[in-house]
């Protein structure tokens, strides 16, 4: 992970545009020059809406793209906050706190980067793909064709893209681990490789298992319900292995959101 994340700032951002994509995904483009110029791959911003007034928490979003003064976020409605976000129009304002957290480590030369994305988790991987010295492979999955996101962006960067959908409407039918496994077990595949993943916990755990089995390093970006975003409130904790082997709480907003998959302690499903 980046040892020295940039100092976060509070920035008033202006909505430049908002597009609705198929599948209910929203692309929100904001003018936020300060954060856009500092953000490292895998970092997030904590977004505050000014309406409705009774929302007391910010919402965390991984940065999808940063381009000059513009910052792009990709999200889906999951509650009242994201529902209200869909009503943002060009010219309106939001407050951003960021860039926050520790992102992905700088890609190493001579190591093939391999991305594994589930749903809008793909957005959190774009900046990392763009920062890689050479293009790699991107495994992108979703429930249906509309949930397979950012593949054109990865292809534009010269990446080899493999797609899986659970309903079989695009690419291989099944979970994204299906084409990933085919790749990992292929004796003719390039080596060494390094995995970078973002998506639902089930996917991240599956990636962590494969990383262990194939003895490769995997970095996973985790999504947790968050309070302050700066490490003060201890809401977004995740159990990780301390150097002595014991389980300790890590703050996803501060020590994460990107973790070495080998460090994460997975809880059994309730």
């Amino acid at each position: 992970m980046h040892e020295n994340p940039p100092t976060p700032i509070l920035e008033d951002a202006e909505v430049l545009r908002q597009d609705l994509w198929p599948g209910g995904y929203h692309l929100l483009e904001l003018r936020a020059a300060g954060i856009a110029s500092r953000v490292q791959p895998g970092q997030f911003v904590h977004l505050r809406l000014f309406a409705p007034a009774d929302l007391v928490l910010r919402r965390p979003f991984s940065v999808f793209q940063a381009d000059g003064e513009a910052l792009r976020l990709l999200y889906k409605v999951v509650g009242r906050g994201t529902e209200a976000m869909t009503r943002l129009r060009a010219g309106e304002g939001v407050s951003l706190l960021g860039p926050l957290g520790r992102g992905f480590p700088p890609p190493a030369r001579g190591v093939l980067p391999v991305l594994v994305a589930g749903g809008y988790g793909a957005a959190a991987l774009y900046l990392q793909a763009a920062a890689c010295p050479q293009p790699g492979w991107a495994f992108v999955g979703g429930a249906g064709a509309e949930d397979v996101l950012c593949t054109a962006d990865f292809e534009r960067l010269g990446w080899t893209v493999r797609i899986a959908t659970e309903d079989g409407s695009l690419g291989v039918e099944g979970q994204v681990t299906l084409p990933l496994d085919e790749f990992l077990f292929d004796r003719a595949r390039p080596s060494p490789i390094e995995l970078f993943a973002c998506g639902p916990d089930g996917l991240l755990q599956a990636v962590a298992e494969r990383a262990r089995r194939h003895d490769v390093r995997a970095w996973i970006s985790m999504d947790r319900r968050m309070g302050c975003g700066v490490g003060a409130c201890l809401t977004c904790v995740q159990k990780v292995r301390a150097p002595d082997g014991s389980g300790v709480w890590a703050r996803v907003c501060k020590e994460g959101p990107v973790f070495d998959a080998a460090d994460v302690v997975w809880e059994a499903e309730p």
């Binding site: 700032i9 910010r58 906050g81 319900r225």
Partner: protein
């Protein structure tokens, strides 16, 4: 900094005086951070000018490190949030080693919130902090929902409350400020017990016991099942309880509950609080406490008052 040595002090241009006295503490302004919402300081150091705060109240400290509750630990509800962090903290030695040296670098009083599972544990933390440079006062957390003595909550049982205060009072010369629970039938009785037990101030309200359920899964939204409600939703309740507490005791009262604007702080001051704390609002706006303090200056000008002390307890019939 231009405003030293008393940034809150009035000056020849008629700048209102924001400084308040809290027992033996003099604060440059009446706005402090609420325990549990400001971490131990470093978390917000990049974003907030600590020297514009009246005081910093750090997250609760216990004798030994404490892991807290499993997640989910927080859920947003209409007008507030419910938390069940479970008092996770590095323990008193961890605090002294990792955080206090940093906090000493600021000319802002540091109030340490303490808790224990027994009266003796409270006293042990207080004893360890007694005489430590950089600790200005102790806030005694008797009202967090998951600290119990047997089945009784220290914050809602008057005898248990007295025992904790007695033990802590005997363990330290530091100014003491018990933080009162809102869910009691007579808040005045607790304020009076604080005064009788040698406290120097009281703070209130702590979070309000609360619960939320996910209807789809029919599961509690918090792993701990219940938690404490904070934020704008509790403010009118908090104002009423502060009003009652301030009338029941001569001790200074620190009022809190849903403050995010200077006008909210002024409500608490008018009903008798000598100072206030900003908590949940910091999550949305890290500079909320500073903004409230600066807003009070403008509010005093608007009301034609030269000092914040003219506002305190000025409720009209």
């Amino acid at each position: 900094m231009r405003e030293a040595p008393h940034p809150g002090g009035g000056d020849a241009r008629g700048d209102p005086d924001l400084s308040v006295v809290l027992g033996s503490l003099r604060l440059r302004n009446p706005v402090m951070t609420a325990s549990g919402t400001f971490g131990y300081g470093p978390e917000y150091a990049d974003l907030v000018d600590f020297e514009k705060l009246g005081a910093i109240v750090v997250k609760g400290i216990s004798l030994e490190p404490w892991g807290g509750n499993p997640p989910p630990r927080m859920v947003e509800v209409v007008g507030g949030l419910i938390n069940a962090i479970g008092l996770q903290n590095p323990g008193v030695e961890g605090f002294l080693r990792e955080y206090l040296p940093f906090l000493r670098g600021f000319a802002t009083p540091i109030i340490v919130n303490i808790w224990g599972r027994t009266a003796e544990e409270y006293a042990a933390v207080a004893r360890r902090l007694d005489g430590v440079e950089g600790v200005a006062a102790l806030e005694i957390n008797v009202s967090c929902p998951n600290i119990k003595e047997g089945s009784k909550l220290f914050g809602t049982d008057l005898d248990a409350f007295r025992r904790v205060l007695e033990a802590v009072r005997a363990a330290t010369r530091l100014p003491l400020m018990p933080k009162l629970a809102p869910n009691v039938s007579d808040i005045g009785a607790f304020a009076r017990a604080a005064e009788d037990g040698g406290a120097d101030a009281v703070s209130l309200i702590n979070s309000v016991p609360a619960m939320a359920v996910d209807v789809e899964t029919r599961r509690p939204r918090l792993a701990n099942v219940t938690g404490g409600l904070t934020g704008p939703a509790i403010r009118p309740m908090a104002v009423k309880l502060v009003w009652e507490a301030a009338r029941a005791t001569r001790l200074p009262v620190v009022g809190m509950g849903g403050i995010s604007e200077a006008e909210h702080a002024a409500e608490f001051l008018i009903v008798g609080a000598s100072a206030v704390a900003v908590g949940t609002a910091t999550f949305a706006d890290p500079r909320a406490a500073v903004r409230v303090a600066e807003g009070l200056r403008g509010l005093l000008r608007r009301l034609g008052l030269a000092s914040i002390r003219e506002l305190i307890g000025s409720l009209r019939p």
